[in-house]
Chain length 260, copies 2
């Protein structure tokens, strides 16, 4: 069964034949949101920051930035998670340490670097092309959708705001706000409530086998593994109900068909 | 600290300055072994199989093969795991069902397709270039290494045999043989025994945050996340001690230096 989502012909759900109309819960990062070029974004940020100070190399900044992050990630994530710090003041702190490691002691350059970081990153936050078209096809067919994402509130809300996708969903559930993270069943149950759906009629679509797919399997939702690199399923990983390389086959997989 | 592993200058461990000489435990799939082109390999297999029967399209075969795998993966993996089936007879079964879904009922074509699959896949099993050179640099410096891989015995042993890498390691531990899988501590403890090392002196290097890194963190081994696509660390994932995009920085990260 192949259903094109490119020619914009409307798809419909044959409710008389197929039973209850399904709904979908999406993961955000690396499922709808394209995170694959983050290192390129960071390289671009470092190129701009290097122009603020003579003699500092973009590669040196990038190396230092990575080291600072790796050494402090646990603390930074906790601070973002509980709201002790916002992304911008954290960015300033990271850039102050990054620049110091490159021999530059300057609060004003750190502040400017954080501003460049923020703006450049925002400009690179984007959906996969197949995500936008698949979701729109599903929405036109009347499929109800929810979004479930693990992460600190401000970090995740900022991405959702930049993408402008909140109106697509009945509910947007961020783990730090909900108090539960995938694969815990509670966050799936909240999504199901928002869709007024039984687990067996609500598909979960995500890229992470150990959070997205494990949790969906546990509560009895059909799971779709978005495996964009085409890697074989690790032998002892949770087994998804379906596997796709992009979101384009999703409407067809769910049984949507061109309207007669 | 940047140490080149390209110019073949020998690196040494400065034991007087740095304390106990460290050892390393490697994961196999997607860490040393390049699984990224599996879908291309499958496309190549389907192109060859399509030549066995007029009228069947490679894309049709590939779609059917994926469907058969997805529908039966749980059972297939169990059969491989407990040795009920070997990879070749399983391949025959999968190809018989794949061909049947394309309207071809033929045991002899299925057998030939399984043979093509086996041979083509074997020809595509390869290490990342950075894996070979980093491991050789580490070995020349006298670092002792072990391999820990999750999967069915025959499947994992076949890959290791084709790659010819077993002699690099003090021990090769396959989860189906050991009776424990990552992230369970037992399989890490066996690797540490083979290296005669304390957890704090044995680094674990792997690509999977939820198996490799989680398990290493649990037993107190320094962990290195091989993040080849440069994706940001998911906010609630286990936090690795270090992060690298390839294995090239590993010798420098461990404190190996050019010999004086």
């Amino acid at each position: 069964m192949v259903v094109s989502d490119v020619d914009n012909s409307p798809l419909t759900w044959r409710s008389n034949v197929m039973g209850t109309m399904p709904s979908i819960v999406f993961d955000l990062d690396s499922t709808l949101l394209d995170n694959s070029s983050y290192q390129d974004t960071l390289a671009e940020i470092c190129r701009q920051v290097s122009e603020l100070h003579p003699g500092v190399e973009p590669r040196q900044l990038q190396q230092a930035n990575l080291t600072i992050w790796t050494s402090n990630k646990n603390r930074y994530m906790t601070e973002l998670w509980d709201g002790t710090k916002d992304t911008f003041s954290l960015g300033e702190e990271v850039w102050e340490l990054t620049l110091a490691q490159c021999g530059i002691q300057s609060r004003s350059i750190a502040r400017e670097a954080a501003r460049i970081h923020d703006a450049t990153e925002a400009g690179h936050i984007r959906l996969y092309a197949d995500a936008r078209s698949a979701v729109q096809t599903l929405q036109q067919a009347g499929i109800r959708m929810a979004l479930v994402t693990n992460g600190p509130s401000q970090l995740q809300r900022r991405k959702i705001e930049i993408l402008g996708i909140a109106p697509w969903f009945e509910a947007v559930l961020v783990s730090a706000e909900v108090g539960h993270s995938k694969p815990e069943p509670e966050i799936y149950m909240l999504a199901l409530e928002s869709l007024n759906a039984d687990p067996k009629d609500a598909w979960f679509v995500g890229d992470n086998l150990y959070t997205d797919i494990a949790g969906a399997n546990n509560v009895g939702m059909p799971s779709v593994w978005v495996n964009r690199t085409g890697e074989p399923l690790p032998p002892d990983a949770p087994v998804p109900t379906h596997e796709v390389r992009t979101l384009a086959p999703l409407p067809g997989l769910m049984g949507l068909e061109p309207s007669a």
